[in-house]
Amino acid sequence: MPVSHDIGAPDGIFAVITLLLVAGCLAVAWPRIGSPATAKGQRGRLREFGSCVALVLVAAMLADSVGAGQWAVGVAGAGLVLLLRPRAAALITSALLLILGLIGIGLAREIAWGVARPGWYGLAHSWNSPMWFVLVQAYAFLALGAWLGWRELRARPAVARLVLGRTAGLEPADQLWSLLLLAVVVIGSAIISSSAWLVVTILGSVAAAAIIRRAPGFAAKLTAVGLIGLGLTGLLLVKSSTVTSWTLSDPGNAGPPLSASPRPSSATARPSARTTTPAESALIKPAAPKPPSLAAAGVSPSPEPRYGLVGLQSGGTVDVALAEAFVFLGLGCWLVPRSFPAVRKIIGLVPQAQLTSQVQHLARSRAVAVDTAAADLRRLERDLHDGAQARLVALGMNLRAAERLMHVNPEAAAALVAEAREASARALTELRELVRGVHPPVLADRGLADAVRALALDSPLNVETEIDLPGRLPAPVETACYFSIAELLTNAAKHSGARDARVAIRHSGVMLRVEVTDFGLGGADPARGSGLAGIEKRLASFDGILAVSSPPGGPTMAVMEVPCASSLPRISSS
């Protein structure tokens, strides 16, 4: 926790009061975040509470580095947020961290130039801390802010959409990377133009924002390429700059390295002979004991080549620029497979969002499959209970009555026995129908091809079959396809008014394709009627799909595609 560098007694009391207030705010926020019901909810709640605490700390640090000693203002602001919107704490913290990081970068530049105002930045003091200490903290804050923001935006698609615009076909998580385009534009424009960089930056940022919102996929590609370009440029600049600084540190040359830096637009560094003003010679010593005047700060930064966040100059920042160049390069390379689907295909990387949607699809179709199986079992039980089972009970009763009547009234007994025989025949018929509904005999015996041929024979329509299957398919796929085709043929017979229909089945090695066409009136609506929806559900368990084309006037064509491999070699159907 940053503390004001000279805490007096009244300040101490003020601090205690502020801390008490913050504690109060946290206590108020606590019951309003997360749901304590489950263990997972409890963990989320603790995480959100952690964000609240982090918000207080970060706000204090930020306020303290903006205006020395003003940390209490930040704490008060954080308290206000905690009171009003405790759930937004993490998102605000991430934004504050990013700002804090940028301030740190600025401070590091000021330290490098020796124009830093006295004040605290995180754990560093601008006067007696080395520049790298400030810089490391600034990078850490930036990284932390980016990570936190990414996590928060991913968890809140609504907010992400607000920031990023439409996300058609893209998960917000995939699109967040394109936000880096803004950073690329800002850093890149600083390298390209030295004089009007502010204008270029603003214009470039507006253009980048438009691209991000309108064409997120393109923005992501641009980001990847831009980052790699930045990294390579950085390496080139650093190389030429080290050569220069090495030359400059030659004892024979009295010129200060700062003034010797080349114009940013040229990749080669040319030391320019220039006389050093007294103000500039004061700036060479970074650890100057007394703060330089602000007027001097305006003079100094212009001749140095800007690169990356800190700027490239001889001495310490060359290492920083090198590190930044590598970070840009690495980030760009990491983004390439994420932004270019072609590259992704080559290296076989599946993006997170695709896996997520696949898992969701699997969970959904599994739930449907389980439900369907349960419903089928219930129906089976009911059919058996009301049908065959009941008939067998009646049969037993009839036979018992016949047994009793046998000697008393043989004719009545004979009638009862005949009735019993008929009842058993009916029970058998029912069981047969039941089994046919569960697993059709020809399907069990011969597989899909002959089962569909049998189906075609049984259909009241004149069904032509055109079947080319390499062998038996996985049994569940066969069953699903069989019942789907049966449903489609039944629909055609009932509603289409067709006399002729055609079933074509082909297998391409990995995909089973079934076409059911009836030459009827057409106009079938997939949205209406549960039959087609049932088929879709049935096929979804195998990642299969159904497409129906039914223009008014016909013909109606239903195409089903199910990915599957055939398992057994062809069984001869003698």
């Binding site: 025949a425 089994v435 015996d445 041929r453 024979l457 003698s574």
Partner: protein
């Protein structure tokens, strides 16, 4: 008359053997799987075989395929196929060689032993017997078609019974009419369906089934 029985369930096999024995058939062999059936059919050359469609080793349609194979080697070998289900597809395969001497019945038909024994005798004599359920399906499929739609209700009844493989006298008995009336109906049916008339029961059945199957 010598019979081979192929049925994997002991109770049913035993029941069939007893029933046939009671009606004076001689049981040449009673087997419980498809390889045994083929061996018995080729080795014993029975007058008729009664075969369950579903047999070991794969418990699919081994019985049917064994019967078809045996008929391929011994053309016209009379086979009566029994099944828990009747399928038009299997009926077509049995009828495909046009050699006669085939039957295809639901297992339940065994309940009525007189009719069942009649069917066995018909098949053994080179006749054709189709389960009423098969015939109903065949007719159902063509019911809406010309010229079947032109048949009168009574003519359809006669056609159905003809397709099941019944003789004129059996049809007359069943419909409580004279044989002459049946003969008149059958002539009318054949002319309406444009089939060559035939007095031979067996050829008549095949013609009707071929028409319905076509």
């Amino acid at each position: 008359m010598r019979v081979v029985v192929a049925e994997d369930l002991f109770l049913l096999r035993d029941g069939l053997v007893r029933l046939l024995g009671a009606h004076g058939f001689e049981i040449a062999a009673a087997v419980d799987d498809a390889p045994g059936l083929v061996a018995a059919l080729i080795g014993e050359r029975p007058d008729v075989a009664i075969v369950d469609v579903r047999l070991p080793p794969t418990f699919t349609d081994d019985g049917l395929r064994a019967a078809l194979r045996a008929r391929h080697e011994v053309p016209g070998l009379p086979v009566l196929v029994l099944s828990q289900y009747v399928e038009q597809l299997y009926a077509r395969e049995l009828l495909a060689d046009d050699a006669g001497g085939v039957g295809y019945l639901l297992k339940d038909r065994v309940f009525n032993d007189d009719q069942f024994v009649d069917a066995v005798r018909t098949v053994a004599g080179g006749g054709t017997v189709m389960d009423p359920e098969v015939v109903t399906k065949l007719l159902g499929r063509r019911a809406r078609r010309e010229p079947l739609a032109r048949l009168s209700a009574r003519e359809r009844e006669v056609l159905e019974l003809m397709a099941q493989g019944r003789s004129n006298s059996a049809i007359a008995q069943r419909l409580f009419v004279t044989e002459k009336a049946v003969s008149k109906h059958s002539t009318s049916i054949f002319s309406k369906l444009d089939l060559a008339p035939s007095d031979d029961d067996n050829r008549r059945v095949l013609a009707v089934l071929a028409y319905l199957n076509g």
